[in-house]
Amino acid sequence: MSGNPTGTVYVERMSLMYRIQHILLMVTLVVLALTGFALMYHDNWFGRALIVWEGGVLFRGFIHRAAAIFLLAQMVYHAYYMLFSAEGKRELNEVWLRRQDLDDFLQAIRYNIGTANEYPRFGKYGYKEKFQYWGATGGIFLISISGICLWAETFSMRFLPKLFLDLCLIVHGYQGLLAFVILLFWHIYNEHLHPSVFPMNNSWLTGKVEAEWIRQEHPLEYEKLKQEGVL
């Protein structure tokens, strides 16, 4: 709990560790998207410009694979951190999918169309955050597997039919597009355009959010913080 001269109360939502992980992930994904879409859209002006900007098709590949290694390292570290650190275990518990999330989602829809009277009360992470987190995790998992198969093509070719590599290529590209679409529509909406945070939820930089925002958007978390005496 912390205050400032205007009397607004802030609480921590993202620790320094998560902010670092988030920024690294963001930069890595942007690099991967720019180098990946360059190849996927090579036949139009957009891809052509990207390829030229990235120093040609060969160098584009180097950048893409360097960023991919970095992403994989981050994934391994993140999994380790979530499973074995005290903070990670707590967060994993918060973000773990439960039956309640589906109920919350359905109730939110019902409330929004006017057939329910209570808007669901979310904990630290509601269904929107969990969808983002697990969607990205699953997507990165799939994109990593297909990417490794394509990269290690001399190895893959020994065991796998070409058809499998063709599929890997399609999955890899479209999974990238899917991740991009989720980021564009879901994450940008939730963290920037949503009326409660517009123009931006600053927690990815400061780590903190207003207690009032927590009370409105994540009431269960608010109550928990009160109980714990943080607020």
Partner: protein, 420 residues
């Protein structure tokens, strides 16, 4: 009678002996006689329009020519001193074969119609200074032929007048691999104009009897490139061409004609980067008509260009596989032929040239085919799934956002209600 002969024989012999120097003297003196006037460098004739024509004949050049031991009157039989305009010299009197083939040529036919621009004997061989074509000083010596032909065929006025191919088409020869071999490396063995087009019997390429008619091209190029011709004859293109299929490519369809360059020249149609465009031009493997006529797969070019090989090649990685890397060059065979480099049993070895681990398992699955359910079900299904999934997701996102914004207004009202 016999006695008479014995009596006269010495006399005849003596007369003959006496006449010999006189006879020789006639020839010599005839040339000398002509040179009395024609040896004068300033002798000239006015032509209508104010131009003048020099009537000087260089005796030295004539003496050094292949006809130099002869006499002016052999060719100019109507010449006597003094004389007016002489009749045109007839080379065919002594060279009937050459005249016959010339008369059948495109030059000869136009010449017979009275065309003064068209090449006639003297335009290529010279007049008084005709030399054997083996003589390096001859106009028709191999190294000099190109200059002789380009005298007219690199002349814009002549080309426009007779609707000949643009001058650059033929002059491009000079920078071609053949032209460079001649000019830069000084190689006698290189192809000069007459090697492909013939000499006296030149005919345009659209006439079946022409040496450069499509059906004669492989044999023509094979004169100097026999090893390649042998491979080509066994290929699907060679067999098709010999079988009378006009769509089947001959050498020039891929390599070009006058401007043939080395394969490592980026402007060559068979330079690695240009091969896909050459094979899959609108004329050939990207042509739907050709594909259905000969039952070969469609969209070879676009499907290749969508593959990683195609993209890499497009952006300058000439190491990436192009058509010829897998299908071969002159020896291309259909995939159904066990000899073909792309027959399933040979695919591991063909791919293995660049990907050493490619195993028999790798040969499974189609290579650069159209993504349709019949040809590539797996890829088609996955792509369709993602397309539908991503589109559906976007629609659901938008719906969700709309609903949520609507619901927030309700929440806000409820909150305000509570406060009041």
């Amino acid at each position: 009678m016999k006695r008479m002969l014995t009596l006269f024989t010495p006399l005849i012999l003596a007369a003959a002996l006496l006449a010999l120097p006189w006879a020789a003297g006639v020839a010599v003196s005839a040339v000398n006689e002509c040179q009395d006037c024609h040896g004068d460098k300033t002798i000239e004739m006015s032509l209508p329009g104010g131009a003048t024509l020099s009537l000087f004949v260089d005796e030295k050049a004539y003496r050094a020519s292949v006809h130099g031991k002869g006499d002016c009157t052999t060719c100019h039989s109507d010449a006597k001193a003094p004389h007016g305009k002489l009749e045109k010299v007839s080379c065919g009197k002594c060279h009937p074969d050459a005249e016959k083939s010339y008369n059948g040529s495109t030059h000869g036919r136009d010449h017979a119609k009275g065309n003064k621009d068209v090449a006639w004997c003297a335009d290529c061989h010279g007049k008084h200074d005709v030399r054997k074509s083996k003589d390096p000083a001859s106009r028709t010596f191999r190294m000099n032929i190109v200059a002789v032909c380009l005298k007219c065929h690199n002349d814009r006025v002549i080309e426009e007048k007779y609707k000949l191919p643009d001058q650059t088409v033929m002059a491009a020869y000079e920078s071609s691999v053949h032209g460079m071999a001649l000019k830069k490396s000084g190689l006698m063995g290189t192809a000069v104009c007459s090697d492909c087009h013939g000499n006296h019997a030149i005919l345009p390429g659209d006439q079946p009897r022409s040496a450069t008619h499509r059906q004669n091209i492989p044999t023509l190029c094979g004169k100097c490139h026999p090893g390649i011709l042998e491979k080509y004859e066994k290929s699907v293109h060679g067999k098709g061409m010999r079988g009378g299929i006009a769509d089947s490519p001959v050498c020039t369809d891929c390599h070009g004609e006058h401007k043939i360059t080395k394969i490592n020249d980026p402007s060559s149609p068979v330079f690695a980067k240009n091969i896909p465009k050459t094979c899959a031009s609108a004329r050939c493997h990207e042509n739907a008509g050709i594909a259905s006529r000969y039952a070969i797969p469609k969209k070879r070019f676009s499907t290749y260009m969508e593959s990683f090989h195609g993209i890499a090649l497009e952006y300058g990685m000439t190491k990436a596989a192009n058509c010829a890397s897998c299908h071969g060059f002159h020896e291309i065979l259909p995939a159904s032929d066990p000899e073909s480099k792309v027959h399933p049993s040979n695919i591991p070895r063909t791919c293995g040239k660049c990907h050493p681990n490619a195993g028999p398992n790798f040969a499974k699955g189609p290579v650069h085919v159209e993504v349709t359910p019949q040809k590539a079900m797996g890829v088609f299904a996955v792509r369709a799934f993602y397309t539908i999934f991503i589109s559906a997701l976007v629609i659901l996102f938008v719906l969700h956002v709309g609903l949520e914004l609507h619901g927030r207004r309700r929440r806000k009202r409820a909150e305000e209600g509570k406060k009041e």
